[in-house]
Amino acid sequence: MRGEDAVRLRPPRNAVDGRAVTWWRTQLLVTTAVPVVVLAVLGALVGPARAWLLVAAGAVAAAGLACAAFLPAWWFRVHRWEVTDEAVYVRTGALWQEWRIAPMSRIQTVDTSRGPLEQYFRLATVTVTTASSAGAVRIEGLDHERAADLAERLTAVTQATPGDAT
């Protein structure tokens, strides 16, 4: 560390799976579609407030479409992960970015989860928890086979660690 101002966190080595972009986009579209459909149906049924409801539906749809067009690619650039022999290292976020580091010796549980959409895209999320109550380390958008391998490897490491990891 020579230059005082020259230190920074390097990006983790691995990108998430390319299908994650489509997955995120689908998620955003689905979450936008629900209120838009509700507003549009209400607009069709309720005569007096039709203009307002349809404008609101349009605004929500526009915002959702903009997010779906723009955010997933940004997330894909930011979301990266890495597992070394010592630690799990994950970067997430877009406007608010977050780097999380959990040492292998303090990992308590390793979970893999797959929602319906994730199953369709053959993706999985690996959640690594430590004894801290302040949130787990989540790696989203991994290819499901790779996620299973990773979880297996992390579990093996965890079991080899003595103590209760506090």
């Binding site: 020259a6 920074r8 290292y89 977050e98 999380r100 580091i101």
Partner: protein, 510 residues
């Protein structure tokens, strides 16, 4: 090992509590019934109900008493309880982390205590065994027996009493945030109770008459002062009830024990193995008088005492800061207080952010008021002007103070971080207790070259933040505080271009 039972006087304590409940609920009911029928009839109805409640409650408690038994074996503590739904609980003795005793005034009179045997679970949930109630001597015996650990070496410098009550500490009670809360609650209670009796209007009229000769602002001022005075008295009373007979001691075997309480006596034990550090808390009022409260940062402390009489993690009430530092050092078995080390200040950019927040929080509502004033009535314009004139300097002062309070340092085996202005906290956390780092940067922080570094730990609130440190400053600090954890992920982009992002590079994962 023989099975033991709860103390046979337990139903007595229950009966006494039920008497109180019956009296408290019966009186208004009797008054209400007496309106429509003769007094003797109303009274006999209420008495019959009270008797039923008393007999039923005491009977149920007797059954519970007969069906409950416990046993302390060489490896396990067992508790069997329940009439229809039988519950058999068993705790491994090595997992027991705390044995806390509490007794309310009535139970103290009868010489009984409630015993809570905890395993260091996070929320005060099902994992703890509760014995309700046993004789005080039996409670003490359980506490000593279950917490006795042979391994810890004797340490005459740090064993014994660490602190005992100094009645002069009470001067910090009225300046805590408890006082205004009690004052407000008292004012609310007056209004509520008078409404029950349909006399709220009369109370308001009566107050109006008292102040008929003075202007409204003076009346408001007087009422606020009165509420403050009531709050201060209430805070003094609460302080006495909470901290009377206070004593902090270290018992042989490495257990910290806090005993305190005037009416309800409490004994809280924290095993030193669970201790990861201490936290000095200075609410604004207390800080202005140079005092601080000491809390423990320990794993598996239930967040709240059931009877809400204060946190289990409280090691000390607000005391003069030097004393707080000294006791913190003794609690941690350190020669000097880690909480007293000089801290590295955070960059000017952090101050600019705080000033910007302060100005936004004052000027945005002012602008809204002014806009409404232009549209509706000029009165709002004056309100907006007054608001800005009064609150801007205050907000700027708080912003400067907030920046001055930011700081972090490594002190021996501890890392220290401080932040906050209305409630300033200084945390000293064992470096070996760090179980991860979280680095956060918002868009604005990236532009200002700042980052927020969060230490995750199994103890206390689970995460302690180092807010708005300089980018290199924060990362270098993290690398120094916990060597090896963050270092592999740092790079110096100017000097070492080969460390740049190379997705195809050796993946340790595959």
């Amino acid at each position: 090992m023989p099975w033991r039972r709860l103390d046979p006087r337990t139903p007595l304590a229950t009966a006494a509590v039920l008497c109180g409940v019956a009296g408290g609920a019966g009186l208004p009911v009797a008054l209400g019934l007496a309106g429509s029928r003769p007094l003797w009839q109303a009274l006999s109805w209420v008495l019959a109900g009270a008797l039923l409640l008393l007999l039923g409650g005491t009977g149920a408690d007797r059954v519970r008493l007969r069906r409950t038994r416990y046993r302390v074996g060489p490896d396990r503590v067992d508790l069997h309880t329940g009439l229809l739904h039988l519950k058999r609980r068993s705790l491994a003795r090595e997992r027991i982390r705390s044995v806390d005793l509490t007794a309310n005034p009535l139970q103290r009179l009868l010489g009984l205590v409630k015993v809570r045997i905890g395993t260091g679970e996070r929320s005060g949930g099902d994992a703890a065994l509760e014995l309700e109630l046993v004789a005080r001597a039996e409670g003490e015996r359980l506490r000593r027996e279950l917490l006795a650990r042979a391994a810890a070496p004797e340490d005459p410098r740090h064993d014994g009493a660490l602190a005992a009550l100094d009645p002069r500490w009470i001067r910090y009670a009225p300046v805590s945030f408890v006082a205004p809360a009690i004052g407000g609650a008292a004012a609310g209670a007056v209004m509520q109770v008078s409404e029950w009796f349909g006399a709220q209007g009369e109370v308001i009229d009566w107050i109006g008459e008292r102040f008929s000769s003075v202007a409204i602002p003076w009346m408001i001022l007087w009422l606020v002062l009165a509420a403050t005075a009531v709050g201060a008295v209430g805070a003094l009373g609460l302080w006495i009830e909470m901290w009377w007979n206070y004593r902090l001691e270290r018992e042989p075997g490495g257990t910290l024990r806090v005993t305190r309480g005037l009416l309800t006596a409490r004994s809280v034990s924290i095993e030193e193995r669970r201790l990861r550090g201490v936290e000095l808390v200075e609410p604004l009022g207390v800080r202005l008088f140079g005092a601080a409260r000491v809390d423990a940062v320990a794993t598996g402390l239930a967040e709240k005492d059931e009877d809400k009489h204060g946190d289990l993690k409280n090691l000390m009430p607000a005391v003069p800061r030097p004393l707080a530092d000294r006791v913190a050092a003794q609690v941690l078995r350190e020669p000097g207080p880690p909480t007293g080390t000089p801290l590295a200040p955070h960059p000017r950019a952090a101050r600019n952010r705080r000033i910007r927040w302060a100005l936004w929080s004052v000027l945005a509502p002012a602008a809204l008021l002014a806009l409404l004033g232009l549209l509706l009535t000029p009165v709002l314009l004056y309100v907006a002007a007054g608001w800005t004139a009064v609150l801007t300097p205050l907000a700027l002062l708080l912003a400067r103070d907030a920046h001055r309070n930011l700081g972090h340092a490594v002190s021996g085996a501890y890392l220290v971080t401080r932040s906050g202005t209305v409630r300033r906290t200084t945390v000293a956390l064992q470096r070996s207790g760090v179980i991860g780092w979280t680095v956060k940067q918002s868009y604005f922080q990236r532009r200002a070259g700042l980052l927020t570094l969060t230490v995750t730990t199994a103890a206390g609130s689970g995460a302690y933040a180092i807010l708005d440190a300089g980018r290199s400053q924060g990362l270098a600090f993290a690398a120094e505080a916990v060597p090896g954890l963050l270092t592999p992920f740092l790079e110096q982009p100017v000097d070492a271009p080969e460390n740049r992002e190379t997705p195809e590079a050796r993946s340790t994962e595959g």
